[in-house]
């Protein structure tokens, strides 16, 4: 395997893995729900993105042709992930979940 491609693939994998982990760390350790909401919706998208990039590179190189199927995963995820975040945020606001005291602004009544 070409060293450069292998490097790129490996790097993409690591980037993806790290961001996936970071997102989940955020989910695990941030103090209130609204903050935790940021972890996955951000980092995980890039986490998946990284692995997808790796996959793209890997298979394109492997097959000696552009393999873009995985882009669809990213596309769908970009379409759907904000919706779940949005809905969960609404749910949290409806339940009037505790937020950190120093949070500025107010959530809306649902």
């Amino acid at each position: 395997m070409d060293q450069v491609v292998e490097f790129l693939v490996s790097a993409a994998i690591l980037v993806g893995g790290v961001f996936a982990l970071v997102g989940s760390i955020g989910l695990a350790r941030l103090p209130d729900f609204y903050l935790r909401l940021h972890g996955p919706t951000k980092a995980s998208t890039l986490g998946v993105g990284g692995t997808i990039l790796a996959s793209l590179l890997f298979f394109s190189w492997q097959e000696r042709a552009l393999q873009l199927q995985e882009v669809l995963i990213a596309l769908f995820l970009f379409i759907t992930a904000p919706v779940s975040a949005h809905m969960l945020a609404k749910a949290a606001m409806h339940r009037d979940l505790k937020r950190r005291e120093d949070t500025r602004g107010r959530p809306w009544k649902q």
Binding site: I79, T80, M87
Partner: protein, 931 residues
Amino acid sequence: MNLAILVLLPFLGAALPPLAERLRAPRTALALSAALMPALALALLIGPAGQVFEGRTVQDALSWMPSLGLTLAFRLDGLALLFALLVLGIGLLVILYARYYLSANEKAGRFYAFLLLFMGAMLGVVTSDNLLLLVLFWELTSLSSFLLIGFWSHQSAARKGARMALTVTGMGGLALLAGVLLIGQVVGSYSLDQALASGDLIRASRLYPLILVLVLLGIFTKSAQFPFHFWLPHAMAAPTPVSAYLHSATMVKAGVFLLARFYPMLAGTDLWFDLVTLAGMATLLWGAAAALFQHDLKGLLAYSTISHLGLITLLFGLNTELAAVAAVFHIINHATFKASLFMAAGIIDHETGTRDMRRINGLWKYMPYTAVLAMVASAAMAGVPLLNGFLSKEMFFAETLQSSRLGAMSWVLPLGATLGGVFSVAYSARFIHDVFFNGEPVNLPKFPPHEPPRYMKVPVEILVALCVAVGVLPAITVSGLLAVAGSATLGGELPEYHLSIWHGFNVPLLMSVVALVGGVAVYSLRRWLYTQYDRLPAINANLIFEGRVQALARAATALGNTLRNGSLQSYAAWLLALVALVLLVHLSPAAIDGTRGLLPLDGVALLAGAMLVVAALITAVLHRHRMTAIMSVSVVGLVVSLTFVRLSAPDLALTQLSVEVVTVLLLMLAMYFLPVRTRMESGVLRVSRDLLLSVVIGGGVGLMAFAMMTSDFQTISGYFLDNAKPGGGGTNVVNVILVDFRGFDTFGEITVLGIAAMGIYALLRDLDLLSARSDSVGRPWARDAHPLVLVTISRPLLPLALLISVYIFLRGHNLPGGGFIAGLITSVALLLQYVASGVEWVHRRMPGDYHPVVAVGLLLAGVTGLGSWFFGHPFLTSTFDHVHWPLVGEFELASAMLFDTGVFLTVVGATLLMLANLGKLSLLDDKKGGA
């Protein structure tokens, strides 16, 4: 002459009276219609009777169920002839009697029908030449007597009496059946002929005691022998013609008939002697003594019947030929005098309106003619000389003297016999004196009584005339019949005996005298005896029996409720405990062969497995927090999908994932109507029981899984891998199996899905459910029903998802995918529209009834399968071809695709039918709330 027809006639005749009744025939015509067939039968009997008197046995057989050994075989020998004559003759008299006995507003047609049924059954019993056929008719007599006894079904006593008789005799019948089957086993045939000839074989058999006990159980219950006698007095609740018939010549005589019939087969052993004699003696005494204390006219007769049956039984038990002949003789005599007595009692009941002897007195004045008849009959019953009862009783006394089986105790038999005679005389005296003399009637319901209609007396007259005729001229009247009957009973030559009134001064005569004198003496002491008797605690067999039965039924209900306690938890525990038992007993670690190499375990798998374990445990532990449990179950589902990915099952992973989503939607829909939390309600004991079951079953299944995975095996799967492409035209073997190799499974499976959807639709229709008005933390629901972002995103997602469905569908045959998964994706996309925009919005845009979609899907799959018929192939044979389209290139067309389309449509239709209708539920609720 066909004996089968003879037996059949009464059964056929049973149809006539109801028919006549329907035609509104007058009572006499009704009676005539009933009498027609028995009369015909009697007439038909004349021919074969002649042959019998010539010493031949008339036999006749039709095949019925030869595999069972059940044939319609009939025989007419002397014994059968005797009984046939009694059954038919007395039966006819009873019909005549009943014509006058039954009042105009009673369902006489039905009565006669029952009576004729009974007559036919009885005739069958006595003429059967096949043991099974005999049992069949035997049980029929029980059944038809049940109907007869319960004829006045509005009376509680009649119902209870009928049930008691049926229960007791039914039990006996079952025992008899068992006995007969054993006889058949020993003899190797159910032919009565052969069985009679195999007496020695049977008696020598290891099974003999059992056979004897079983058969005797049948006999004793039927002929009311102690201790099974108690049903008989209560059968008196029947109309009197029935009593006259059942308890003189027929029903109870069936028992003693069988004693006679089986005499050559079973008699002659000490066991026979002990059992039969003992029962007979006990019955004789008990019945005779009890008869004296009855105030009910029919009650007295009932107990006297019991006593006389005991006498006959005792005679058969003595194991001597002469005694058997005497028994047969007494059967005849008892039939005549007892039938006439019952009829007389019926007349008295009919004319006075009561049967209580404490009120019926001095009837001589009012109905002297009847009185004479009754007195003659009673005298016969008491064994007064010049009447038939005397002759047989004499023989009885004589035979009791002969027996030496009891050794030094042999004197007990004649003593008992004499004692029985004493009581017999006493109650006969009571019947005469109390009823016809003894002062004036007391407070009769009908007063003054007078003679009954002319023809009501005819049957009594005939019977009484017979009593006298036999008593005076036995040699002329009865000896011929008795001879053939006796020899048939013994199955051989008759012993020497003389039927004459005078045998000279001998011990039996002395016993008769003692009986007469003693009887009169006892009767004169009656008042003292009654007061003594009244001090005894009253025993009402009816109440006791009914009480027992009720207690039994209650116990049965209680036992039933204990086992079937209405608790699903306990039912499921039984089921699972059974499984646990199977595993505990049969599963051992030795099942692990370990012939197959293990796959390496990597960290990812380990951690994923750990996740699954944790999630499953969370679900179990936290199941009371329902939402949490749903989520942890989702995690389990996710890990299972990933496991499928890891273990080379892409199709399964896809299916599992999409099913997972639909399931969550389903659960969330349901949660709207279900409580959010489960209460803690299982006790420690139950929880530990359940834990034990889970550990055993879970562990067992896991162990089996491990054993299976670690051992090699031979499988047919190579065939699928080899033939998927050449035979099924696809490279995705799983899919080819689903739509081709095992397409029938899939056909069934989508049917299941379709049915489930239908069933769910049916369940949801007009379901009243209260939805939660606020969420689990008590907050009112949010206002925003259709969030903008969700709505807007759901729009483009629909065509996109459909595109993916098409993609997944088309590639299914060659790569992971197929109709199921495509269908589920489409369903989810459509459901998303429901979730985002609501039912009404969606249904404005597409038809909301998914029944046709399911139907079309199923039909498509089915019709595709049928298509192969036209090419001469079986259902679901697939065909495929590669078509070359210009521009497009190679394109594969397979009939399996069409089948898969059916699958697709069914999945979409069924899923939406389920969930959309579930979603509509709240709509109903809202409307209700708004109204």
